[in-house]
């Protein structure tokens, strides 16, 4: 048993043993979980994938005379302004009103982080205290008072494998799915993925300090669609999409290496978000969790050609098989392809490892744990009862 304080003391004195989630799997295989529990202090994880539920809060400051911005556009992308006068939220998936799929909220966020000037346009009805009715100007990230990413859902604990059994190509958020099960796509970094290394959320909770977009960020809350009660294997790992995290971090310190706008053909815009979470090896149970390798983490293959919410499944496949390049469904070998970058996930886990080792990035115990006792409810379609005024 080690406490956070003991681990942090080792980090401060430069004595902490830090491994990435891939390195620890190899060590566990060679020397066993007990050895890992005794010798390793921190394990660093990483993921770099498209995360649609992302966005940024911005404060523009006041013009002279001031305006209570009612509708706001950044580079022709509508941003949410139903807040105080000069606050706004840029949603990653919002499309440009001018060029549609070619540019969107994710690209606005990337351009701001890149330091590029962005055109701000706003209109208003004018009030006694905010007389201006329209404004057009140019801003950069440095001009803003606050700019922070607040992503309602990131770092999905596991996800589906997507296949398409019908005769036409499908353009989805899981990439282009070729007809007649021509390919299978998946989107997590497997054994490197943050929440798959802490399947029961013992160390990752509200307040946990993390790597986000190239700087430090924090877990703010459970993510939307957080589904801790998803079916799990004997090792505790969920077999389908499960826990999620809401994350917050200072956009002004982020880098476009780890935050990138993206566009999925005929689906829409998203945002690549780089996330890494350090996991303290408090005891043998945490050591057991971080030692679970790709061969023991499974995802479920779903048929995306079925339009219903409940899609038929074609069974479970391990991340080892997925990484190997093909899976077999109904006797047919189907090539697999990832959508999240393993290479950059590794880079993040490595970078976080150096932060912990050399820059004294200490660990935080959760201020409050994530809930473990609720499911994921559907939206039912019912006749309105007339409650609207």
């Amino acid at each position: 048993m080690k406490s956070y304080e003991e681990i942090n003391e080792k980090i401060r004195s430069g004595k902490a043993v830090v491994l990435t989630a891939e390195e620890v799997v190899a060590l566990g295989r060679e020397k066993g979980v007990k050895h890992v529990a005794e010798t390793v202090d921190v394990v660093t994880t990483g993921t770099f994938g498209p995360m649609c539920s992302s966005g940024a809060f911005l404060n523009f400051g006041h013009s002279d005379p001031p305006i209570k911005m009612q509708k706001v556009w950044l580079n022709d992308v509508p941003v949410f302004a139903g807040l105080a006068a000069v606050d706004a939220y840029v949603g990653a998936t919002e499309l440009s009103e001018n060029v549609g799929f070619d540019y969107g909220g994710g690209h606005v966020i990337e351009d701001l982080i890149a330091g590029k000037p962005v055109v701000l346009r706003a209109i208003s009805y004018g009030t006694d205290c905010y007389p201006r009715r329209e404004i057009e100007t140019e801003i950069t990230l440095a001009d803003l008072n606050q700019a922070y990413l607040f992503n309602p859902r990131n770092a999905y604990q596991n996800y589906n494998i997507a296949v398409n059994s019908c005769a036409r190509t499908l353009n989805t958020y899981m990439g282009i799915l070729l007809p007649n099960m021509g390919n299978a796509t998946y989107s997590t970094s497997g054994e490197l993925s943050p929440l798959l290394n802490d399947p029961h959320y013992r160390t990752i909770g509200i307040g946990t300090r993390i790597f986000m977009g190239g700087t430090e960020g924090y877990v703010a809350w459970e993510g939307t669609q957080h589904n801790p009660m998803q079916a799990r294997g004997d090792n505790g790992e969920p077999l389908a999409p499960s826990g999620t995290l809401a994350l917050i971090g200072d956009m002004k310190k982020m880098s476009t290496r780890y935050i990138r706008g993206s566009y999925y053909y005929k689906y829409g815009i998203s945002l690549f978000v780089g996330v890494g979470i350090p996991i303290p090896i408090l005891d043998e149970e945490m050591a057991r969790c971080v030692c679970i390798g790709n061969e023991d983490i499974y995802a479920t293959a779903l048929d995306y050609s079925v339009e219903n919410r409940a899609k038929p499944n074609f069974g479970r496949f391990s991340y080892k098989e997925l990484r190997g390049g093909s899976i077999t469904i109904n006797g047919k070998s189907i090539p697999t392809a990832p959508l999240s970058s393993l290479k950059r996930a590794r880079e993040i886990a490595d970078l976080l490892k150096t932060w912990v080792k050399d820059e004294k990035f200490t660990l935080t115990a959760p201020v409050k744990p994530l809930p473990t006792d609720h499911g994921f409810k559907p939206l039912n379609i019912v006749p309105p009862t007339g409650a609207m005024v």
């Binding site: 770099f48 994938g49 498209p50 990439g175 282009i176 799915l177 070729l178 390919n183 796509t185 990138r260 706008g261 993206s262 566009y263 999925y264 053909y265 998203s270 690549f272 090539p335 392809a337 990832p338 959508l339 999240s340 970058s341 393993l342 290479k343 950059r344 590794r346």
Partner: protein, 133 residues
């Protein structure tokens, strides 16, 4: 023998010439049409030519006599390494394995295997792939 890949550029006034017919009939070449693009100004044709080596050479000579611009197809695609994030979305749609990962999960492009279908250009979420011609 190996297929030789060339980019042919036609002026507007040459567009109605049956060049492919002559290459097949007079020079006994097998043609693989990799891509064709016609605008109001010019036409571009990417061809794979195979046959006897001297016939391929003669065929190309003949095309030049017809004032068709013949250039070797150096590379079909360029993958911008600065914007590529090595995600793999393009590998999902590449029919020939021209795009694939190396052991350390870096995206690699093998132009020998590329048939210029451009499925990858459509699939890339950060527009890192562009056609070269």
């Amino acid at each position: 023998m190996a297929e030789q890949r060339v980019v042919l550029t036609f002026h507007r006034w040459q567009l109605d010439k049956p060049v492919t017919y002559h290459l097949v009939k007079d020079y006994d070449l097998v043609l693989n049409i990799l891509q064709a693009k016609v605008t109001t100004e010019e036409g571009k044709l990417v061809l794979g030519l195979s046959g006897l080596e001297q016939n391929v050479e003669k065929g190309i000579e003949w095309l030049k006599e017809q004032q068709v611009i013949v250039e070797p197809l150096a590379t079909g695609l360029s993958v911008n390494k600065d914007s590529c994030v090595d995600c793999g979305a393009c590998t999902a749609v590449c029919p020939t394995g021209a795009l694939s990962f190396s052991d350390d999960w870096t995206l690699g492009y093998d132009e020998e295997k590329c048939i210029l279908c451009l499925a990858c250009e459509t699939a890339c979420p950060v527009r890192a792939i562009e056609e070269k011609f």
